[in-house]
C-alpha cells in the first residue's frame, strides 16, 4: 500500500480501523435503532420486540397535532432560510466595501455562535417579555431562529463573495451592464452555490431547532417540540415513527438541494441562450 500505512505498525493500523468503525457505529446505530423500533408492535419505546407492524405510521399520519406541528416546522424553516440567506447575502455584499468598524460588525455577527442556545433563549424571552412581545411561532420563535441562522448564512455566502474578483464586475460594467445587470448576470451565478448551501443549511437548522423554540413558542408546536412533549407524556413507538419520518424529510430536502447544485455544475450557465455554434 502507500508509504503512510507501510510506516505504521500493524497494531496501530488495527487500532485506527477499530476506532473508525466505532465512530460510524455510534453515528448511525441510534438512527437505525430508531427506525427498527418504529416498526415494533409494542406499547413502549424499546425492546422486547413484539413483532412487525406499520400501525405507528398509520397513527402518525392520522395525528392532527403531529401533522400541524410538522407543517409549522416546514413553514417556519422555509421563511427562516429565505430571510436569513437574504440578510446573509446583504452583509456579505456590504463586507466587500471598506467602512469604519467593519471588523467589529462582522465579528459581532459571528459571536452569537459561541453562546449556548439556551442562554440566548432565556435572554430573548426575558427581553421580549419586557417589550411586551408575546411568545409564539411567527414572532418570538421566528426572531429567535433568525438570530441563530443568519451567522451560518453569512458564513456560507461570504467566502464566495469575498474571493470574487471585482475586476470581473468592472469588466461587465465596462461592457454596458448596469449595476443590477452586473449583479444578476455576473455575481449571482458565481455565488449561487453559496446561496443554495445557505438555504439548505438554514432550513435544517431551523427545522431541527429545539432549545430556543421550546422557550419562545408559547402554546404552539413545531415538530421537535411536539416530539419532546410525547416523549415526556406518552413514549410509544409512534414517537419513533414520527422521528423516522422527520429524518426522511430532512434527508430528502438536503438530497434535493445537492442534486440541484450538481445539475447546475453540469449544465454551466449563461445569461441568455448561448450563441449558436457555427
Amino acid at each position: 500500500m502507500n508509504a503512510t500505512s507501510a510506516s505504521l505498525s500493524r497494531n496501530a493500523v488495527g487500532a485506527f480501523g477499530l476506532f473508525a468503525v466505532a465512530v460510524y457505529f455510534f453515528l448511525y446505530a441510534p438512527v437505525v435503532t430508531m427506525v427498527i423500533l418504529s416498526f415494533n408492535d409494542s406499547i413502549g419505546i424499546g425492546l422486547p420486540w413484539g413483532g412487525f407492524t406499520t400501525r405507528w405510521y398509520r397513527e402518525s399520519f392520522a395525528n392532527t397535532l403531529a401533522i400541524g406541528a410538522f407543517f409549522n416546522s416546514v413553514r417556519l424553516a422555509v421563511v427562516v432560510s429565505i430571510v436569513s440567506t437574504t440578510l446573509g447575502l446583504g452583509v456579505a455584499l456590504a463586507s466587500r466595501r471598506i467602512f469604519k468598524g467593519k471588523a467589529l460588525v462582522l465579528n459581532a455577527l459571528i459571536l452569537p455562535l459561541l453562546i449556548p442556545g439556551i442562554v440566548l433563549a432565556v435572554g430573548q424571552i426575558t427581553l421580549f417579555n419586557v417589550m411586551g412581545f408575546l411568545p409564539g411561532l411567527w414572532g418570538a420563535t421566528l426572531l429567535g431562529h433568525l438570530v441563530y441562522t443568519v451567522p451560518f448564512a453569512f458564513l456560507n455566502i461570504f467566502p464566495r463573495v469575498h474571493r470574487f474578483d471585482p475586476n470581473i464586475e468592472a469588466a461587465a460594467a465596462d461592457l454596458g451592464a448596469t449595476p443590477w445587470v452586473v449583479f444578476r448576470t455576473i455575481l449571482l451565478p458565481q455565488i449561487m452555490p453559496g446561496l443554495i448551501a445557505s438555504l439548505l443549511f438554514c432550513f435544517t437548522l431551523s427545522f431541527d431547532e429545539f432549545t430556543r423554540t421550546l422557550f419562545l413558542i408559547g402554546s404552539e408546536n413545531t415538530l421537535p417540540v411536539y416530539f419532546w412533549s410525547i416523549i415526556l407524556t406518552d413514549p410509544s413507538p409512534a414517537a419513533s415513527a414520527i422521528a423516522t419520518l422527520s429524518v426522511l424529510f430532512s434527508l430528502s430536502v438536503i438530497g434535493g438541494g445537492l442534486l440541484l447544485l450538481n445539475l447546475r455544475r453540469r449544465k454551466g450557465d449563461s445569461d441568455a441562450t448561448p450563441v449558436g455554434a457555427h
Partner: protein, 366 residues
Amino acid sequence: MTASIDGPDLEFSGVTKIFSGRAVVRRVSLTVQPGEFIAVLGPSGSGKSTLLKIAAGFEFPDEGCILLRGKDVTTEPPYRRNVNTVFQSYALFPHMSVADNVAYGLRRKKVPQTEIAHKVKEALALVGLHRFWDNSPTTLSGGEQQRVALARALVNRPAVLLLDEPLSALDLKIRRRMQIELKRIHQEVGTTFLFVTHDQEEALVMADRIVVMREGALEQVGTAREIYDAPVTPFVADFVGELNWLDANASSGAAILSDGAQIKLPEASQHRRGPVRIGFRPEKMRLAPIDAVIGPQDNGVRATITSVTFQGPITTVDLRLTDGMIVRCQSSATDTIELPEKGGTVLCLWQIGSTLVFDASPTEQT
C-alpha cells in the same frame, strides 16, 4: 474604418485626481486623434492606470473633464460610455463560454441574436480564436485569454479601446508576439487605442505617440523617435532606454569635466552656463584606440575598460573615466573584435549631435 465626426476621439482637459490628499493625476491635458495608437508610459505610481480608469469611468476626476468624441462624459458611469477596457487580469467571465464572453456587450445593447452570432464570429476570427467558441475561458492559456478579452472589447466597436498593461502577465516570447499582433489588429480595425504600460520597449514598438507620465503629470508627449532621441527631461531620457550620465560645468559652448576634459555641446545648448548633466546613449558610443584623432563632429573622452560582456548580438563594455565616472558602451559584436582587453585605455567617441544636455538638478536623479 469608422471615421466618425471631425475632431478628437478622446480629450482629457485639466484632469486632476486626488486620493487621500495626494494628487495621483495632475492637470493632465491630452488629445487623442481618431485611429491613433497612444502608449501611456510611466513607472508604477505615475498615475497612468488612474488616468485610464478615469477614461473608463471607474474613477471620477476631482478637476477637469473628459470628452469622448466631443461629448462630455466626465460624470457618466462606465456602462454609459462608448469605451471598452482590456484588463491586466483579463477579467473574463468564468461561468460563460468564450463566445458568451464576447457576446456580453452586444447583448447589453440588445443587438439581434443573428447579428450577435455573426459579430462574435468575426471578432474571434480577428484574434485567431474561432475554434475556441464553446470553450470555457478557464481552459485557455494566458495568451489566449488575453485575445478573448481583446475580442470581447473590440466587438463593441468602442470609440476608444483602453488597454491596462494587457501584456504584463504574459511571458516574454508570447508578449513579443502579442505586441506585433496588437499592432496588426489596430491597423485592421482602425479603432483608437490608449495603451498603458510600464515597459518602454512595448511603448516604442507599438505606439504612434508615447505619453510619458511621472508623479501624475505628463512629462513628454511625442513619437517614439522624439521621446528617444530628444527627451525633454532627464527622467524621460533615463526611463526610455539606457543613458550614460556625466556631471560637468558648461561655459562658452562646451562642458568641462572635473578632470578638465571637454565635451562639445550641440547647437541648441551652446548658451548654457554653470553645472549641467551630460547624457549620451550607450549604443551611440564607439571605442577607438587611445591615440585616435577626435573628429570635428565627435566628442571624445579617455576611459579605462573595467569589464567586457559578450551578449550574443551585442557586446557591453563598462568603462571608468579618468575622473572616476562610469559609462557603458554597447555595440554589435563585429565592431568590438579589435578591442583592448579589460584594463586597457581607450577613447570613447560619440557625435556631438547625440549629446543630451540637462540642468544639474539633484532631484532629477532616478
